[in-house]
């Protein structure tokens, strides 16, 4: 009898507070599994700002640091520069990273900081009750775009991975999705590559993950997966935008 899958030792025994079917939990598992597989859990430090992942320090079996809204890349920069032996990563939502934290993420990439960013794009501010984010799609109804987002009022959704891929210091940029077992496996591979890049000291790496927010999308978890496929994937194409070979 071989074990095909069991809960990762990179996670604590705490039960996740996320809503049923929220893919934040899926991504938490992947990050934990990768840190174990790379054997760096005991020297890794995760930095989480605000958002539904704000309680992640209870879930990851490694040191964690809270940061204020959008500032995780700046805090991570400090931690990494003081102790380069540490494996430092940020875990940020789209309301956090693409809005109030837009400057921090651009400049962490610009400086080529040797950290890894896990970026959860669920097209909404989840924690605060479903407001429009820079990543909210055209026509998407949120509590602050009740008739649907319009280009006239709010512009077009920000493509973070494409934007960061233009910056030289960003050595690994990939957009993935956790909508199916195959894509979850690909997401894990991308997260692993981003961490490996940090370990080899090449520069900044970010993985943008298309994710669901069933509660604020007002859909069942299963319908949320379908909504992600039908609406997010066409606008946010999956794929690698920058890898070390190409970035040289």
């Amino acid at each position: 009898m071989t074990i095909v899958y069991d809960k990762s030792k990179g996670l604590t025994d705490a039960e996740l507070h996320f809503c049923p079917g929220c893919t934040h939990g899926t991504v938490h598992k992947l990050v934990a599994e990768v840190l174990i597989e790379l054997d760096v859990l005991d020297r890794s430090v995760g930095v989480v700002p605000v958002g539904c992942s704000a309680l992640s320090y209870d879930y990851f079996n490694c040191d964690m640091q809270q940061a204020s809204h959008g500032r995780a890349p700046a805090v991570a920069t400090g931690i990494k520069r003081v102790n380069p032996e540490l494996v430092v990563w940020t875990y940020q939502g789209d309301g956090d990273l693409a809005s109030i934290g837009a400057a921090e993420i651009v400049h962490v990439a610009h400086r080529g900081e040797k950290i890894t960013t896990i970026f959860i794009n669920n097209a909404i501010y989840g924690m605060t009750g479903g407001q429009m984010a820079p990543t909210t799609l055209i026509g998407q109804k949120t509590t602050t775009s009740q008739d649907g987002r319009t280009v006239e009022h709010s512009g077009r959704p920000l493509k973070v991975a494409e934007m960061l891929a233009t910056i030289d210091g960003a050595k690994f940029v990939e957009r993935v999705s956790v909508d199916s077992p195959a894509n979850i496996r690909k997401t894990k591979k991308a997260i692993k590559k981003a961490f490996e890049l940090q370990l080899s000291g090449e520069g900044f790496g970010i993985v943008e993950i298309l994710s669901t927010c069933p509660t604020n999308w007002a859909l069942t978890p299963r319908d949320s997966i379908k909504w992600l496929r039908d609406n997010m994937m066409p606008y946010y194409p999956l794929g690698n935008l920058r890898s070390p070979e190409e970035a040289k």
């Binding site: 009898m1 071989t2 074990i3 095909v4 899958y5 069991d6 809960k7 990762s8 996670l11 039960e15 996740l16 996320f18 809503c19 049923p20 079917g21 929220c22 893919t23 934040h24 939990g25 899926t26 938490h28 598992k29 199916s180 077992p181 979850i184 496996r185 069933p214 069942t220 978890p221 299963r222 997966i225």
Partner: protein, 71 residues
Amino acid sequence: MAKGKVTFNTDICKGCELCIDVCPVNIIVMDESMINVKGFHPATVIEMEKCIGCGNCAITCPDSVIKVERF
């Protein structure tokens, strides 16, 4: 075909049903005969002998409810 065995940590299942859609042999259902401590009908397997131990259900579960073994 490989044989698999799945075990559910029933108490922490949130009844999201995401595991149902990814099972290639369609053996996962929600157990409507019980309600767990969280107040959900938890996921369970019917016809365990059909399980191929692919791991899809466990990989997909956001809450690490499922353990999969293969023999």
